[in-house]
């Protein structure tokens, strides 16, 4: 079995983003998806700090600290992009205008609950940012994460034990070993890395899984 690395996962998510989509990529791993979007597609990246039509990172000499993404990294603006204030930006997100957002997660439940902002540890200082807005606002919420924690626990769970970000909001989960659809109908495996089997996934996750492989 060949686990996907981060680049392969990002490329896999990018494949599912269609021409014309308005997309918000969360901080961290999801940001990498931008590097794998097909050049020939017009895909519109929104950043919640007030820009639409985000382009790739600038050359070092062109860095402008008033042109950054939500992760506070320097970016560029494509021709046809625009700037707006936080009110309009979150209206965009909350109002259902973003087609897809891609988020990292601590846990996702088989019915699509998302936990990605707080470990619940008593001494943690919680920080939520725009995660809850994206979770409820985007038409589709994709999650990108390793299936297992470093301690070997499944992050795809029957029920989240960490504090929730949003209820029943995730539709698809991209992991290093499989892609799952989640939601009211439970979790379905739509893709597996070569060598992986559904029984192995059942063992790893301990959750109820159906097979619904998509044509490759």
């Amino acid at each position: 079995m060949q686990r996907m690395n981060r680049e392969e996962m990002a490329a896999r998510v990018a494949r599912d983003i269609p021409e014309g989509a308005y997309v918000n990529l969360g901080i961290g791993l999801p940001t990498m998806v931008a590097n794998f979007l097909p050049q020939e597609r017009d895909i519109f990246l929104q950043s919640e700090n007030g820009l639409l039509g985000m382009g790739p990172a600038p050359a070092e000499e062109d860095v402008d600290w008033e042109l950054i993404n939500a992760g506070k990294q320097p970016v560029t603006l494509l021709a046809g992009g625009s700037f707006f204030h936080h009110g309009d930006s979150f209206s965009m997100m909350r109002g259902g205008h973003i087609d897809i957002c891609v988020l990292g997660a601590f846990q996702v439940s088989v019915n699509g609950d998302l936990a990605n902002w707080h470990t619940g540890a008593p001494d943690a200082i919680p920080a939520v940012g725009g995660a809850m807005d994206l979770a409820v606002g985007a038409k589709q919420v994709f999650v990108m994460m390793d299936l297992m924690t470093k301690r070997g626990q499944s992050k795809l769970v029957a029920q989240c034990s960490y504090p929730l970000t949003g209820l029943s909001c995730v539709s698809r989960v991209y992991t290093d070993v499989a892609v799952f659809d989640v939601g009211p109908a439970g979790a379905h495996v739509v893709e597996m890395v070569p060598g992986m089997t559904i029984d192995q996934l059942r063992d790893m996750t301990g959750v109820d899984l159906q097979l619904a492989l998509e044509g490759v």
Partner: protein, 228 residues
């Protein structure tokens, strides 16, 4: 390549359907998308709900839609005008329903729809006929009325210029309801006096980002002057 420019007014409104709710920008003639409304009349859709500040005046625009018997209901703030005879007649005959909304509540409810809010407590209209039967609440010593979002299937708006991604800029007070209606409708169609190249609009001054616009169609400029 995404190109939201429609080749014609006819194609821009081709998917209208009977029973559709349609937001229409404009305050008086300023910002009223007359050419798009003519295309709606030519299209033939009927049983429409019109959401706009006015209910039409004279013989064109919303007045022409009402005259052509396409309108079931009007949601607006100011239906009665000097030349609103087509609305007046149909309304008095019971053929057109009216939901009268204070202008700021109209704007706020359209904004609530565009921004995904479920409802808002607004002070406007409290204690008046227009709040009768509505939930009210005192918050911090002030009285408010609970008002719900106004969504629409389509928004027909007028802008000065647009590009193929749907970015729009407006002209003077013709801006009025355009930007907020664009955010609240499932499908937003903008008529513009000028289609410009991608990148020609300064990103600092785009008023309506393309995400809120589905189609852009060019009409001959100066239509307002002609209509006035």
């Amino acid at each position: 390549m995404i190109d939201k420019i429609s080749p014609s007014l006819r194609q821009a409104v081709a998917d209208l359907h009977d029973g559709a709710s349609i937001m229409i920008s404009g305050f008086g003639d300023a910002g009223a998308p007359h050419e798009l409304m003519e295309a709606v009349i030519a299209h033939g859709a009927s049983d429409l709900t019109i959401i706009s500040n006015n209910a039409g005046a004279g013989e064109s625009g919303i007045a022409a839609l009402i005259k052509a018997n396409r309108v079931r209901k009007v949601i607006c703030s100011f239906p009665r005008q000097a030349a609103s005879h087509h609305f007046d007649a149909r309304y008095r005959a019971g053929e057109v329903e009216l939901e009268l909304v204070p202008q700021g509540n109209l704007a706020a409810r359209i904004q609530a729809a565009g921004s995904g809010l479920g409802a808002i407590f607004t002070p406007t209209g409290y204690g008046t006929l227009l709040a009768q039967g509505k939930e009210t609440r005192e918050i911090d010593g002030r009285n408010y009325v609970l008002e719900y979002p106004i969504h629409a299937d389509f928004a027909l708006i007028k802008a000065r210029a647009g590009d193929r991604w749907g970015n729009l800029v407006y002209r003077k007070v013709a801006r009025n309801f355009g930007p907020i209606m664009a955010m609240a409708a499932k499908t937003t169609i903008a008529q513009v006096a000028e289609v410009v190249e991608l990148g020609a609009l300064d990103p600092e001054t785009v008023v309506t980002p393309g995400i809120f616009v589905n189609r852009v169609v060019q009409v001959a400029p100066l239509s307002v002057a002609a209509a006035a």
